[in-house]
Structures are given as structure tokens and as C-alpha cells.
């Protein structure tokens, strides 16, 4: 299998220094794999929902800046959703963001929406029996929530990678991640 194609983050010198970006890159990798499964199986949710939220995942991956704020990322998602007639999914997901995330700001809202997309993809994949897509969604479904804790300084970025590596071991996806996770993470038990 070829190395995962990742954009927006330099993985040539993978280390725990960019662990949060690596974790977000794994989410994008998972979305790409789920989308491919959706395309292959003609499953509309698995094919289209990853496309809708991949821009959101990229925003999380490259990090937010003064020029690329969470509010702007949220606005772009809403605009894209309107253009693709997926506005009702975005509106429904926004309504279900818990109040504590809303109070934290747009970045936390985006993290929760990405999490909602991933659990939706996971259940859709399981219901359709598309287990490759299910494994990828299961692998990363809670990564956005962990990244919210990283943003808030409540957990270390390395802990997210440990969690991904541990789950990858349970799901049989370790080999898929050897080119993505920093050296030493795959096959190492989580704390």
C-alpha cells in the first residue's frame, strides 16, 4: 500500500512537536479513506459527508491564525454547505453542539461538528456493512474532542497520538499509520 497522501502538514520530520497537526492529519486521512469506500460502494453519506467536512478538518489541521480564524472556518463551512445543498446537515449539527462548546468559541464548535460527522459516518458504515470505512471512522471519531482539550491545554498532544496508536492496534490499522505517526508511536501501548 502506498504512503498516505497528506496535505497541510510537513510529516517529513515527524515528531511529537507537531503531534496536534499529525493527529488532525490522521483524521483527514481517515476521511479520505471513508470517502473512497463511499465512492466505491455508491453510499451517498460515506461519499459526500467526508467531502463536506474535510475542509473543516483541514482548518483544524493547519491551525487557526489571525488570517484564518475559527469563525471564518465556520462561515466557510456554512457557505459550502449552502452551495452543495447540505445546509440542513450543518444546521442540524450546529443545533446539537453542547452549550459548553459554544461558550468556548468557534474552534470548539468546529471540533464538535467534526466529531458529529465522524460518529455519523461510523454508524452509517456499520449499518451498510462497509467495515473498512467503519474501522477508519472508529479510529478517529473522538480525536476532535481530544484536540479540543489540547487547545485548552488540558491534555498533551502526545496523549492524542498514544490514543490513536492504541486504538489502531485494536482495529488492526497499525500498518496503515506507520508512515503517519511519529516514529515509536505505533505498537506502543497508551498510558
Amino acid at each position: 500500500m502506498s504512503a498516505p497522501h497528506l496535505t497541510g502538514v510537513d510529516l517529513s520530520e515527524r515528531s511529537s512537536d507537531n503531534a496536534d497537526a499529525v493527529a488532525a492529519a490522521v483524521v483527514r486521512q481517515a476521511l479520505a479513506r471513508i470517502q473512497a469506500c463511499g465512492d466505491q460502494n455508491g453510499h451517498p453519506v460515506l461519499a459526500k459527508l467526508p467531502r463536506l467536512v474535510s475542509a473543516l478538518a483541514q482548518s483544524v489541521e493547519v491551525g487557526f491564525s489571525a488570517a484564518h480564524t475559527p469563525d471564518e472556518a465556520l462561515r466557510r463551512l456554512q457557505t459550502h454547505a449552502r452551495e452543495t445543498r447540505a445546509g440542513t446537515w450543518v444546521d442540524n449539527a450546529l443545533r446539537q453542539v453542547p452549550v459548553e462548546f459554544v461558550q468556548e468559541g468557534a474552534a470548539a464548535v468546529l471540533h464538535h461538528m467534526l466529531y458529529q460527522a465522524l460518529i455519523e459516518l461510523r454508524s452509517a458504515a456499520y449499518e451498510a456493512g462497509i467495515m473498512d470505512a467503519w474501522r477508519w471512522a472508529d479510529l478517529v471519531h473522538n480525536v476532535p474532542l481530544q484536540m479540543r482539550l489540547v487547545d485548552a491545554g488540558r491534555t498533551a498532544p502526545d496523549a492524542v497520538l498514544h490514543s490513536i496508536a492504541e486504538r489502531a492496534g485494536r482495529l488492526g490499522l497499525e500498518h496503515e499509520l506507520t508512515t503517519v505517526l511519529p516514529h515509536g508511536f505505533v505498537g506502543r501501548p497508551s498510558d
Partner: protein
């Protein structure tokens, strides 16, 4: 139980995938009853049990649910099928994906 969230009887919850689908969970097995309930009601990551109210299906937290249900069958556990757990309501709306632009 988180005070600002709805609660549901443990025995009324419906997992969405088979037990062990995500692999063995020795981390959950090691928890005390109290810690396991805390992991369901006040998880550190904020990944609460996500339940669709209309169907009682659990969209996230199935690993914790299966461990809670296992304890409910254990006469030495304080957890029973009548134990109330808090959840975050999850309402699916996938209606638009049929006519989304490619």
C-alpha cells in the same frame, strides 16, 4: 449523573454495534464501578454517551455501554439495568445526502 443532561435507564439503551467490534477494552474492565459510571456520565474528553432519543440507540459510547451491561449482570456490582446514566441527545438528519451536489 450530570445535572444538566437527560438520563436514561441503562437497560433501555441499544448498542449500535456488536460487543468487541472495537476490540477488547481492558482499560474499562480495570475501572471501579464508580469510575466506570464517571466515564459514562462525566467523561474527561467530553465524549458523553450519544443517544438517539427516539430509538435509544447509542451512537457513541458503545464500549462503555457494553462494560456497564456486563457489570449489570454481575451480582457483585453496584450497577444494575435500572441504573440511570446521562446522555447527550443525538438526532440524525441525513435527508439531504440523496440530492447533494457531487
Amino acid at each position: 449523573v450530570a445535572s444538566n443532561l437527560p438520563t436514561i435507564r441503562l437497560g433501555d439503551l441499544v448498542p449500535i454495534h456488536s460487543p468487541g467490534a472495537s476490540g477488547e477494552r481492558p482499560d474499562l474492565r480495570r475501572l471501579s464501578d464508580e469510575a466506570l459510571l464517571n466515564a459514562a456520565n462525566e467523561p474527561r474528553n467530553g465524549d458523553r454517551l450519544k443517544v438517539e432519543p427516539a430509538t435509544r440507540r447509542v451512537f457513541d459510547g458503545n464500549g462503555r455501554l457494553y462494560e456497564l451491561l456486563r457489570r449489570a449482570e454481575d451480582p457483585n456490582s453496584l450497577i444494575t439495568l435500572d441504573t440511570e446514566v446521562s446522555y447527550e441527545p443525538h438526532t440524525r438528519d441525513l435527508s439531504m445526502f440523496g440530492d447533494m451536489e457531487p
